[in-house]
Amino acid sequence: MTDATGADKFTGPTPDNALRQADAESGPVLAADGTPLKKSLGRALRMQKIRALALIAPLLIFVLVSFIAPIADMLFRSVENQIVSETLPRTTEALGSWDGEGMPSEDVFEAAYYDIFIAAENRIHTRLGSRLNYELTGASSLFRRSGRGLDDIGEVYQDQFEDLDENWDEARPWAEIMGSEDWIAAQEEWDAADEEGGMPRFQLREGAATAFPNAAQAYLTFARFTQTEDEDSPLEEEPWSMVHTALYQDLAAEDYASYDGPRAGMVQAADELVASPDFQTVTFADGFAEIDEDWATPEIWQTIKLYSPNYTSGYFLNAVDMQLTPDGAEARDADEQIYLFLFKRTLFMSLVITFSCIALGYPVAFLLSNLPMRTANVLMILVLLPFWTSLLVRTSAWKVMLQQQGVINDVLVWLGLVADDSRLVMINNQFGTIVAMTHILLPFMILPMYSVMSTIPPSYLRAAKSLGATNWTAFWRVYFPQSIPGIGAGSILVFILSIGYYITPEIVGGTTGTFISNRIAYHISTSLNWGLAAALGSILLVVVLLLYWAYDRIVGIDNVKLG
């Protein structure tokens, strides 16, 4: 094969050669004013580019805000898992040194006591409970109960201190032991003024943190919380039982005989009480076990440890019917598997719907493109008519048509084709979904097919026939290959639309005809497991992209035309 338009093979002075030579001799081509031509061309084009950018800017911003950002957020949510480490910061740290065998140490229970106590005051422990419940059934109620139950541990100490000295149950003495004098003065002033907001921020007394390592920290948390969340004065609120627990820990650990801070007598008396053999104590582990037996099993601790990193593959593993275990990812039991099956069903049904649309749409598009313009336009309106009615109405109409007491069954019974007591089940199953969705998506197949077919000149068919081809051969060898781009475009449209379809399968799909998107919707709006929904959505996105890629390899994306 000769190539008439190939590169110059001449070495003589052709225009191209002249240009090349000029290039080689004098470096870059210069514009009239001496600047390199490339640069001045770039400058001339910049204005155009800026204008083009300004024109698309509104859409670009809209797409970024309403499309790209949510997708990015969704992708992020499918791996994001900060709730555990944020809610239980001490616990996750303490669990870091636990090997996962047997029960964790008392340190872990201690950390969990403070974490959950604070979380319960913030009312976020139930949220963590729901999160962990996705991984371990029962975690939700466990956390809900523990939020209330943890007071039992603190009250053991609170009651004994109170019996010793009424002041231990008063706000003022605690504030004096822990707070700085400046702050107390400022707070008193503020309390007297009875104004809104602007409360002086609680400051620990110098030396309090060293004197009471645990209690000062606990009191600080309590005071700040009281100020910001409850907007009450710490001078008037007696502390949480958690603070008493912390105080007990401090008194038990050190000798306070030489303590000379505020209320030294009160503190020293308490120290003596703690040292006396009559003083009742309870370990954190026992306290937890008291609240709920589940705390005494390793599973809950293993779950917390597994999900303590900020990012997790747990949602994705869940989405493919696997689960995270201390020994790595494992497939779920066969009877718990659901998502892979749903993915397969979604793909299968989408393919069936796509092929039904091709089979039904091709003849219509063919007819449309071969009719005179006016008739074609009228028929086109009929094709588009379904778009003018609400999707819900159309889907519900199929319900009326297909149900057992519906139009089609009635007609079949009347014709005697079906016995009255064995009416066909055509709705709330796969059949119903396929029928309704084929109907709804058909225009998306017909439109691209039509626009491609109407660009195929009738002279091709005539030419084929004049060359001796029968009608069928002319169609199959000449017309059909040229209409493939339309089929391709329609198929991609229909397949991608149907793979993410939600409303129709929800209404007519029953239990056997629902799609993965119905499951996603369930997790978004009912179970509120957004992470899993996001993981499922991401997998769906990847599957679609993979199929698109495969399509490109097999058919070629150049072979897709919308007209």
Binding site: M1, T2, P457, Y460, A463, A464, S466, L467, T470, R477
Partner: protein
């Protein structure tokens, strides 16, 4: 050479009519007989029904009335693919998804011809149009002229006896068109095929054809060999449509055998050859070819007719001079004179006397 006898006609249209909408006749009473091996051109203005006739012959349109015969057999009910007529379409209609070779082998495949023979025939057809090296290309990778040749080769590869071509050179530039005109006629005569060729380029029609059918208004206005068509147009449409032509309007005063006298609307009385006027009092349009008008009376015979004229414009065209004159109230009267050494060059405003022989002056219908 042309033989118009019905009995041995290869292609025959008999009283054929065609209407698309049931209201107007696009083809009105078409009668046409073509002997085998003839190159016939259908020439006419746009919308005159040429393509329609071709489509009826090819079988893509059915005649509303009348009969079309091929080799003596009525083909009205034979579907297009069984007619065995080769066709070259205006836009070539090369199948874009097939290579050139596949395009050419398509008609052979549907005729169930074996692979080796198919390849031989395809190569021969490609060589015939000097495109032997292009078999592997797609039509989109060819130039207009190359596509045209492939279309021609495809229409000929299955060796049809009749080939139809609908303005096959319409999309080509002048030079290529002239080259292809020659190649097509050459091929047609070499292969001895019968060709019906449609064009609205009159030069093309005159240079290529054995006979030309001039179409207008759904009728054949004249069917004749090119020289006859040019020199002896049978009505004023043909006279106007073919070549350049001067007309003078007037009324017939007397018809006497081979001559008639016409009183022009401007007042002059001239003699002309009556073509389709029959009696005195009829309005007529007198037609004279520009190259038959002389400004040098010595070149004309005894009974030459002369008229006074004023020069309006003189155009030097190299091989000829083209002079526009005012003659008998017609400002668009054109004469053409050969660029000979002794030829006078007229100047605008000059008064001259022009003349012609009465037999070159044809009295035609006035419409």
């Amino acid at each position: 050479m042309p033989d118009t006898g019905t009995s041995d006609a290869f292609v025959a249209f008999e009283r054929v009519q065609k209407s698309y909408d049931g209201e107007t006749l696009v083809v009105k009473d078409l009668n046409l007989n073509m002997p085998k091996g003839e190159f016939l051109t259908m020439l006419g203005p746009s919308g005159s029904g040429k393509t329609t006739c071709l489509m009826m012959l090819a079988g893509f349109e059915t005649a509303t009335h009348g009969e079309i015969k091929l080799d003596g057999v009525s083909i009205n009910n034979i579907p297009p693919h069984k007619r065995g007529i080769g066709m070259v379409f205006q836009n070539y209609a090369l199948f874009p998804h097939m290579t050139v070779a596949e395009n050419l082998s398509f008609p052979l495949e549907v005729r169930k011809i074996g692979k080796s023979e198919r390849e031989k025939k395809v190569q021969r057809a490609l060589d015939m149009v000097e495109m032997g090296a292009f078999g592997g290309r797609r039509p989109a990778q060819l130039s207009g002229g190359q596509q045209q040749r492939i279309a021609l080769a495809r229409a000929l590869v299955f060796e049809p006896e009749l080939v139809l071509m609908d303005e096959p050179l319409g999309a080509l530039d002048k030079q290529l068109r002239e080259k292809m005109q020659f190649e097509i006629t050459d091929l047609a005569h070499r292969l001895g095929i019968t060709v019906v060729y449609v064009t609205h380029d009159q030069t093309e029609a005159l240079t290529m054809s054995d006979r030309v059918a001039v179409f207008d208004d759904g009728r054949i206005q004249q069917l004749a060999p090119p020289d006859q068509l040019y020199e002896a147009p049978e009505n004023s449409f043909v006279a106007q449509f073919i070549g350049e032509n001067n007309t003078l309007e007037g009324v017939v005063q007397e018809v006497k055998g081979e001559t008639c006298t016409v009183k022009l609307d401007h007042g002059e009385i001239i003699e002309a050859k009556p073509v389709n006027v029959s009696k005195a009092g009829e309005r007529t349009r007198v037609s004279i070819r520009p190259e038959r008008v002389e400004i040098d009376k010595s070149r004309l015979g005894e009974n030459a007719h002369t008229l006074k004229a004023t020069v309006r414009e003189f155009i030097y065209m190299g091989d000829i001079f083209r002079t526009r004159l005012s003659v008998a109230g017609n400002d668009e009267f054109v004469i053409k004179t050969r660029n000979a050494p002794d030829q006078v060059r007229l100047r605008p405003g000059q008064e001259v006397e022009i003349g012609w022989m009465p037999e070159d002056c044809r009295a035609l219908d006035a419409t």
